[in-house]
Symmetry: C2
Subunit: 199 residues, 2 copies
């Protein structure tokens, strides 16, 4: 029987991979429903009912639909609190303070790490796949932004094993989803020693 949890989108998308990483960490069975973005399936009326902005992933668990990858990760951690890694969103006994220690790193990943790293990945990985020329000026501009974020990450990961302390938390899969591209496809010699270590 099919699992009640479905993730809609291509696994190539960092945002889809972010949700899949969270589901795997929480031991929640799921299936991937492919969405062919080259054919504009993410803008079809049926997809827009699941994700009104026409972005991937969309997500369904029984009759519940959720959009935005980090909101989906939060839902998975809340709804499946007792499955898999139970401390993924903080230990129950640490309450609001423990959750906030994780939330601040998820939010800064979304606001500060994601925009420049996604811009670099688009130019180095997706543009060639789409037959477009890589814009090295955009890569360079975003490298400078990303370097400042990685300085903060370096400092933080020098103080504790993971962002929010010594337990694995969603901040890690959120950033990892993006890191696999430079790690797997070290194109244009972009990935320097420090960034390899961060992955």
């Amino acid at each position: 029987m099919a699992a009640p949890v479905t993730v809609y989108g291509p696994m190539l998308s960092p945002a889809v991979a972010r949700v899949a990483a969270c589901l795997l960490e929480k031991d929640v069975p799921f299936q991937i429903e492919p969405v062919d973005m080259s054919k504009g399936e993410h803008k079809s009326p049926s997809f827009l009912k699941l994700q009104p902005f026409g972005q991937v992933p969309a997500f369904k668990d029984h009759l519940t639909t959720v959009f935005e990858s980090r909101a989906i990760c939060r839902y998975i951690c809340d709804q499946y609190a007792d499955s898999g890694n139970q401390a993924l969103f903080g230990k129950k006994e640490d309450g609001a303070v423990g959750r906030a220690a994780i939330e601040q790193w998820i939010e800064s990943e979304g606001q500060s790490f994601n925009p420049p790293s996604l811009a670099i990945i688009f130019q180095l990985a997706f543009a060639p796949m789409m037959g477009r020329t890589t814009d090295l000026a955009v890569v360079e501009q975003n490298e400078a932004k990303l370097a400042k974020v990685l300085d903060v990450y370096d400092q933080r990961l020098g103080e504790s094993q993971y962002f929010a302390g010594d337990d694995f938390s969603p901040g890690r899969p959120c950033a990892l989803a993006q890191c696999r591209f430079p790690c797997e496809q070290n194109q244009q010699g972009w990935l320097d020693h420090r960034e390899k270590e961060s992955c």
Copy 2:
């Protein structure tokens, strides 16, 4: 006696206003600690201990520090669950599903609404304050991005009173924090009829 909750940053910042709006909605007493960004106080060693990226706001509640405005709002709703508007982050009985219905709109505000609206506000409101020339090409480029988001908002707010249903939720103060600028300072004739309605 001073309240144990302190928000560090200028009220002029939409991110600081976002946190203040949440605290007011939750009836949590707080004080604002000014941070003079023109003097680089947000990059000082003491501020970086509270906010490692050197951005406003920083936040302290007794000994707990939290950064990133939306993470701070989530903390306030969790830590002060029984104060003020108790359904601000979803009704207890609606559990993970109710919270996810709100989370997806907070996250899309952060990812889709915030970047173009903040770019417009910077050009129309902050650049003149800082003695810089407004770049109307940037305004125009971001207007086009924002228009697509407002189309989705229009459709959603045609279906229910607020983003996540008929109860007020943090998605509203998150977006409102940004809207007050075009609403208060309708500069350059930017604000059209529809956007006035959205505010």
